[in-house]
Symmetry: C2
């Protein structure tokens, strides 16, 4: 392997700029690519149906992961810092191709999440990670929800982006034609302690401040509620998702 | 009320600098103060045992909240932007006094959280909000946990900082003398589906990447686990807290 001094000369200014440009949605959309970071993500992407386009890693990472070094360009720590969007760059930056999901979510026999304008990237990523934990691999998100390939979303999924499919749809039109029960996280529904195990249906999670939109709310057949024992006004959207799914899986 | 032009002249450069300095831990500690923001927080602080030192609000807020205007200085939007640490300043910035909690957590008959080096301010604030939702008002945090008065922590509590007491302690020494069951969020414990309702005990939540430290782990008498149905490697610390507490309250 070349030493770090040589490595530092390997990335052209244009290449650095190109990678940096992918932290903007417009460039991501034009190129059909996205960025993922961290020492484990490349293996998770390899095992998924995402296509890895290119990767940039520190020498140390490459030495530890010899079997995966095909498309990997060795970079210096200062180069990694330049192309990373993390405060603390984490060994490897991967460029992967955005995925076109073939087919539609299979509603019968499965739980599916419907995200109605989730705006915070951390919440979106965390919800994908929670879904993955509870064995749910189908999420339908409203067109105004935060973009799946936003770097903060990708990062917060902690690799679960590789295993959970996210469709962006006009959710009020989509939910109208759903033929399974539609559960909704609401303040006036059945207690999660009383629903019993639920293995089929759509669970609607509303926007962080506005909740579920009117257009979607009218198709919620089964409102569910997390009983409150104290004084907090509400729970964060991702926390509510985690709690409700944990009770659905009881 | 003076018009915005006059208002804009009211805060001296020194006062702006002083308020800005409170976003640094060192200044907060020296002054024994902290900053809270948003239209509801001043009422929640008033109803708590926090002391409000000063507040800076937009004219619109003051007009809507006439009864609470005693200590309030009217500021212009541009002044608010200068003293706020939010991307989108939210009507009012409050300076309040840090609290010395009298007494110790009452362990018998209560649930108490033990946070073992929670580092992320968003997680810390969200955990305080979750505790408040589930009627838990006692948290013991390790001395290396993120500071309660960090602005991101205060913000993420969404007002629950007013109702939940947080003690910073040498937790390995403290937990040694606890005479109630000590539950710990772990990967190899009893399923949360099988614990039954739990109304007394300490629940230990570990660091985001390292989990529960060795020094605390040896005092965990009852490991509890959130069963996994999919592939995610772990759950976020705040999500795990929310799920476990929801099952303890069943």
């Amino acid at each position: 392997l070349p030493d770090n001094k040589n490595i530092a000369d390997m990335l052209s200014k244009n290449e650095v700029k190109y990678i940096q440009s992918l932290c903007h949605k417009k460039s991501r959309d034009e190129e059909g690519l996205f960025i993922a970071e961290g020492p484990k993500i490349i293996n998770e992407l390899s095992r998924s149906n995402f296509e890895i386009v290119k990767a940039y890693a520190l020498k140390e990472w490459v030495e530890k992961n010899a079997q995966n070094t095909k498309q990997i360009i060795v970079v210096s720590p200062s180069e990694l810092a330049r192309i990373s969007s993390l405060k603390t760059p984490n060994e490897i930056v991967v460029i992967a191709r955005q995925k076109v999901i073939n087919g539609e979510p299979v509603l019968h026999g499965n739980l599916t999440l419907l995200l109605d304008d989730i705006q915070d990237p951390g919440n979106m990523g965390t919800i994908i990670r929670i879904a993955d934990w509870f064995g749910i691999n189908q999420i339908v998100a409203s067109e105004n929800s935060v973009e799946l390939y936003n770097q903060k979303v990708v990062q917060a999924t902690m690799g679960s982006i590789c295993r959970v499919n996210v469709w962006y749809k006009k959710v009020d039109e989509w939910v109208r034609n759903v033929s399974v029960p539609v559960y909704g996280a609401l303040l006036n529904g059945q207690s999660v302690y009383e629903t019993g195990a639920i293995g089929e249906g759509v669970l609607v999670i509303g926007n962080e401040s506005k909740g579920i939109s009117e257009a979607v709310l009218k198709f919620v057949s089964n409102p569910v509620t997390i009983p409150k024992f104290g004084e907090a006004e509400s729970l964060n959207a991702a926390i509510a998702t985690g709690i409700i799914l944990s009770h659905f899986r009881k």
